[in-house]
Amino acid sequence: MSERTRSAKKGSPSADGSVPSGLTDDEGRRLLDFYRRMVIIRRFEERAARGYTQALIGGYCHLNLGEEAAVVGLVAALEDRDYLFTNYREHGYAIERGISPERVMAELYGRVDGVSKGWGGSMHLFDVDHRLLGGYGIVGGQLPLATGAALAISYRGSDEVVMCTMGDGTTNIGAFHESLNLAALWHLPIVYVIINNRLGMGTTVEKSSAEPELARRAASYRMASARVDGLDPLATYEATRSAVAAARAGAPFLLEVVSERLRGHSVVDPAKYRTAEEVEALTSHDPIHTVGARLMVEGLLDAEGLAALDEEAKAIAERASAFAEASPHPDPSTLFDYTYATPVANDLHRLPGEPLFAARPRPTEVA
């Protein structure tokens, strides 16, 4: 499926990277910039995986490895004023939104300088200034929320757009249907993006979706849709720009981005459900390799330049982890600071071992 999509794309890099496709100057500059950003995400994620094995990162940790081209192409098509809702595989999206890798890594480490002050962790990155409105750990949870954010924008007559990304498995949850139906009924400025890496955790799209061409789901809502090669950052960018423009004009859009997941579902998943052939094929699909090769074929980057970008990205990742490790843990005295936004009477600030009411002194024994 994705092979067909990819080979049909104009200007796709071939695995052996031999034929220049004739990018315009703008496209060339953009591709180089995209590649640089992709490598930063790649090295950041690899550093995060190491932090996990060092037990500096806890909980679940899902990486964008293989998704870098899609992340970069998607986010580049948004304006600063637009909003992004995403799921638990979102480190790269946060960085692309302009949040410093240091603050993203600090959140993974659960520290006070993290984007969510250590309250969210890997799955719950949030930064209101950069209009990244989460990071959601519940599959599909972000869809109704993003739809509501678009409703608020529409209600006020302003012109921001909401982008809401999800995985392929999310298209089977009820919230997908309910949200797309609402968005279409109410003409909301929202782009729903399916990152189709063809696997839930280990269950394929074909085994979970009766209509495996996921973009076609949009027909149920008379919503425009498109499918794009998510290993090609320029193609993803162009398709997303069209989708965002439609949404800004009040026509919600469903964009399916066919991507890859190079490793397991999360850092602890060895992905034994994949065959040796599949694993081998992944290497030739790796967008860091293919886009790097394309830049070299186009004469936009040489081996030295490529190595320099890589060194820069590694340094950024190292700085992020050093910053995260140096950032303080939250103080236990702040435990009750974020239960309620409006202070409320009788909110219980009781620690696990404490009684509800102070114990009365035992009656003095009569001598």
Binding site: F85, G114, V115, S116, K117, G118, W119, G120, H124, F126, D127, V128, L133, G134, G135, Y136, I138, G141, L143, P144, L145, A146, T147, G148, A149, A150, L151, A152, I153, Y155, G174, A175, H177, E178, S179, N181, L182, L185, D337, Y338, T339, Y340, A341, T342, V344, A345, N346, D347, L348, P355, L356, F357, R360
Partner: protein, 336 residues
């Protein structure tokens, strides 16, 4: 001050708040053209238009979640979920999102959302349409749950809920919509998290909320007239936070308590109240805390079976008598 029904108090308060604040929008199934299943929103669509009174598809998860998302951007949606039974379809959005967004993201986004929804049985609506599951929401830190029992509190707590920056589940009850009472003029919200002692007394503390607080006041009045009993009534009003201090202070004065609830007994709100009394007034208790609650069955359709399963007026009176007997406080002349 005006006398009006609980329904009218809700309607008027919604209308006033919509006039006061452009960010207040109503969303729910059949609230516009149909004027709401229980007519709370009657007349609001023609007055405010489709932009502010939004009929939604039958999609509780979708529209409740959308209201949460809209609240994150500063709207103040008031969602009507037709009955609390249907809120189960929105449980993930309420529990995993509305209640957690403020904390989980380190205080960066507020969710000023109200979910109005009625519970209540006794109308032969069968097992799926007669539940009282406010407990599910009262269980969750990050949620606020209020449960008025009078038209005055319906107004004051709805004002408070709409103006609060946290998600509030506003519990209504089918049996209360037509009850009448004085409603003060003006614009004074109640304080969420505070119970009210609605009747002072020294013989026994009777505790309830929503419909059961109404029943508690009725029973206390009746037993004062017929038996000369002096019963104190605590109307919880807020289920989360729970005003434990008021409960405990009352029981310290009366030394016995009966808790009324329309939900099932096991793990119910009465269990939390009884445990609170045990923690805070153990030395003062002269009798075990008694709970009057539903029988542990899916509520049947048959009127005979339904009546048998639901707490009755007589059940409450008997529990009061039995508790007073245990304490030795019942006046001999009143024995039946």
């Amino acid at each position: 001050m005006a006398v009006m029904t609980f329904r009218q108090a809700l309607h008027d308060t919604l209308r006033d708040e919509m006039h006061r604040d452009e960010n207040v929008v109503l969303m729910g199934e059949e609230i516009g053209v149909f004027e709401g299943s229980y007519k709370i929103t009657a007349g609001l669509l023609p007055e405010f238009g489709e932009r502010r009174v939004r009929d939604t598809p039958i999609a509780e998860e979708g529209f409740t979640g959308a209201a949460i998302g809209a609240a994150m951007l500063g709207l103040r949606p008031v969602v009507e979920i037709m009955t609390i039974n249907f809120s189960l379809l929105a449980l993930d959005q309420i529990v995993n999102h509305a209640a957690k967004i403020y904390g989980m993201f380190g205080g960066q986004a507020r969710v000023p959302l109200v979910i109005r929804t009625p519970g209540g049985g006794g109308q032969q609506l069968g097992a799926t349409h007669s539940q009282n599951i406010e407990l599910y929401y009262a269980f969750v830190p990050g949620m606020k749950v209020v449960a008025p029992s009078t038209p005055a509190d319906a107004k004051a707590l709805l004002l408070a809920a709409i103006r609060d920056d946290d998600p509030v589940l506003f519990l209504e009850n089918l049996a209360l919509y037509n009850t009448k009472g004085d409603v003060p003029d003006g614009d004074t919200p109640a304080e969420i998290g505070r119970a009210a002692i609605t009747r002072r007394g020294s013989d026994l503390t009777l505790i309830g909320y929503s419909r059961t607080a109404f029943v508690a006041n009725q029973v206390a009045q009746e037993l004062a007239e017929t038996e000369g009993l002096d019963i104190e009534v605590v109307d919880l009003r807020s289920l989360r936070p729970l005003d434990r201090a008021t409960i405990v202070e009352s029981v310290k004065r009366t030394s016995c308590a009966v808790v009324l609830e329309d939900d099932w007994l096991t793990y119910g709100i009465g269990a939390e109240v009884a445990a609170t009394i045990s923690d805070g007034a153990f030395d003062y208790l002269d009798a075990p805390v008694r709970r009057v609650a539903m029988a542990e069955v899916p509520l049947p359709y048959s009127k005979v079976l339904e009546t048998a399963a639901l707490p009755s007026h007589e059940d409450v009176i008997n529990a009061v008598y039995q508790t007073l007997d245990a304490v030795g406080r019942r006046r001999p002349a009143a024995r039946r």
